[in-house]
Subunit: 420 residues, 2 copies
């Protein structure tokens, strides 16, 4: 018996009913990364509401949320200051015949906050921003080859989607690959591109699904910068997943490396749909030449939300707070694992943590852990990096650790059933 | 002297100040189709608010709006029912760890409203939807060639952008072209694609910038359908610009032609950022295989707004109302032109009209007309199709015609100065 059982009839949950309806009118019942079929048993597909660091599913079950809408929620769900800024803007106008004053202010905010940025442009999807950076780099250099790390995720468009269904060979004709953090393989790809090198496109850290997260080495970051400088190519950092969580100036600033172009999205408007490209003056003219636009890209409400989000992230040192909360979670999980004699690996920046189990090739332990923790009120992910928000406080982390203790018990049960 | 002069200091308008600030932090001051450099003299770049069919710029000048945010605003700016639906949803949650019940309801709404649709998926940009349709068609057919009409606009991604800055040849390797409404050229392209024909992608009518709009002929529409049937390819209608304005069932329904896949955006949520793909069961499995996703694609607020928009569009026959208002505008413009002895051409569906001047190769007449009409309170466009909304009433049209009369006077002045 779990504390949730009383709320939910096992046979006919709202979630199950909605899944049945969705199966009829949405291909596969749900698309992409939000399809709950990718999640462990018991995870809901449908959600009703959220507040702070708590999310509630359509059956009224509440969880301490460690996905934060897969990244967008940085300050906590429905942060009152962000909501007020958005509502104030909505009262006059959102999507008009052109931008509002808020677009200029937001571009100024980005330029002031991000040292490499001389300018900014805004879009709706992370993929709009990564695609835009690549297009601007090509326009600015007059070259074609773009180097990407094998396995890195840069969006779900044909040129970068992790699936090749519906993709043609030509969509990826000018991509060359290297291994993240491997300077030698990067140099080999640079050599292969030769005089056609337009850009190196790299995530702020290695966050490929299902494997230990890996921070960039200083050597790798500087090698990428040096290779772009030597070839007059563009260094593009994909901050879509990381932006504002690690360092409001840009995730590689502490390494002493600045990109020429940077793609932002997810957290920059605390859940409102927004993406951004920042760039330096070397690529300003190219950014002017490229035709990039969208019907809703001037939406003023998301921009007002973003201004509030950026201000709070800077002024209250959100990266520092969520780093501290992430460390509390990490240390608590390590202690619980050790007390239970279970070998785990924790990786990534504490703000975006991942916990994997040793000797768990099919992620059975990870899934058992997550399912049990979910039943006790914590929403973890077994294979994808998680996200903390500024709304997580010590008491929330401790409550989640209590849920996690049930997760570790479930892994012990699994091990004993498997004779491990 | 115009009625606006009193409000605005000519030397230092808010618009001018914002343009100067934007020039520093946004490449070119503004991107894409919303860059006011593309518009006649006197047009504002920055907007402050809107209500109904009126939009107001940052200098407090108000206009009867015939662009409707370049399409998204179908029911009028800040329609109270849509706003209430959006606000009610926002009070519980928007972008969560997965979709809300509203996603299922909205997919059901589309399936009920659109005869060809067995399913629906949602995105943020029109380009997400057109790209998704092409990708699904390729996945479903296992083929590559996509036929598009020369000059048609399907979005601003490298494969379809009207600019080639930053675009590689390979981005468009599998596109073949035909002339809109030209069955022979369509058949030639079909023959050229041969066994590799994945899809014919076509806008609901021909709305290329700067030329007379052209409705599809029945013969052309049926030829496109027949060619796809014969080759087991996908007929994709791009309804991004037209959706809900001409016929809520789909713009080709009255022609007796249904697509396999359809791309929607702009008007479907009355200004909230949303796009949709609808498809039939032939392409359901392909739509399941393709990996398409976005951080904000489950945003529940835009979906709640869309449900309200679809309901109002159907129940109150919005296409019928805006058609009547468009006819009133068209007849009024024709009368004024005739009274002034000026030869004009009006084209397109009345809901999305275009007026061009005869013997106006550089659009000087169109620009003079629009500038003068703008000064008198009507926001027209000289070369792009315009948009009407359900908020336009007869009195608004008549007020705009009064402004248009000043536009025709400006054309007469231009003609007399040019000795024409």
């Amino acid at each position: 018996m779990t504390k949730h059982t009383a709320l939910v009839s096992e046979t006919q949950t709202m979630d199950a009913m909605l899944r049945a309806r969705a199966a009829r009118v949405v291909p596969g019942g749900m698309w992409g990364h939000l399809n709950a079929a990718r999640l462990p048993e018991g995870y809901p597909q449908f959600f009703a509401s959220a507040e702070g660091c708590r999310v509630r599913d359509v059956d009224g079950r509440e969880y301490v949320d460690f996905m934060c809408s897969w990244g967008p929620v940085l300050l906590g769900h429905r942060h009152p200051v962000v909501q007020a800024a958005a509502e104030a803007q909505a009262a006059s106008g959102d999507c008009l015949n052109g931008p509002g004053e808020v677009m200029v202010e937001l571009a100024e905010d980005f330029v002031a906050m991000v040292p490499h940025a001389d300018w900014a442009m805004f879009q709706k999807n992370g993929g709009d921003a990564t695609t835009g950076c690549v297009t601007i780099a090509r326009a600015g250099t007059g070259r074609r080859k773009v180097l990407v790390a094998r396995g890195s995720y840069h969006g779900a468009l044909p040129w970068c989607s992790p699936s090749v269904a519906g993709v043609t060979t030509e969509d990826r004709a000018h991509l060359l690959h290297f291994e993240y953090n491997d300077v030698e393989s990067l140099q080999a790809a640079v050599n292969e591109a030769g005089k056609d090198l337009a850009a190196i496109l790299v995530t702020a850290f290695r966050h490929d699904m299902g494997r230990d997260l890996e921070l960039p080495t200083r050597e790798f970051a500087h090698a990428a910068r040096a290779a772009c400088d030597a070839a007059a190519a563009a260094l593009i950092i994909d901050e879509v997943r990381t932006g504002l969580r690690l360092d409001t100036r840009g995730s590689w600033e502490a390494l002493g490396v600045r990109p020429d172009l940077c793609a932002w999205s997810k957290a920059i408007a605390n859940g409102y749909a927004l993406a951004a490209i920042t760039g330096n003056d070397r690529f300003r003219e190219a950014a002017t030449k490229v035709f990039m636009t969208g019907s809703f890209w001037c939406g003023a409400v998301a921009m007002a939300a973003s201004r509030a989000t950026l201000r709070i992230a800077r002024v209250t040192d959100v990266p520092g707070h969520i780093r501290a909360m992430g460390m509390r979670l990490r240390e608590g999980l390590a202690l619980l694992a050790s007390q239970n004699g279970i070998a785990i690996r924790q990786s990534g920046p504490p703000q975006m943590p991942l916990m994997l189990f040793d000797a768990d090739p099919d992620a059975a332990k990870g899934r058992a852990f997550c399912s049990a923790a979910l039943r006790h009120g914590a929403f973890f992910h077994p294979q994808h990096n998680m996200f903390l928000s500024a709304a997580h406080q010590a008491a929330d982390i401790d409550e989640a650790l209590e849920a996690a203790s049930h997760g570790f018990k479930a892994v012990l049960d699994l091990n004993s059933r498997a004779g491990r």
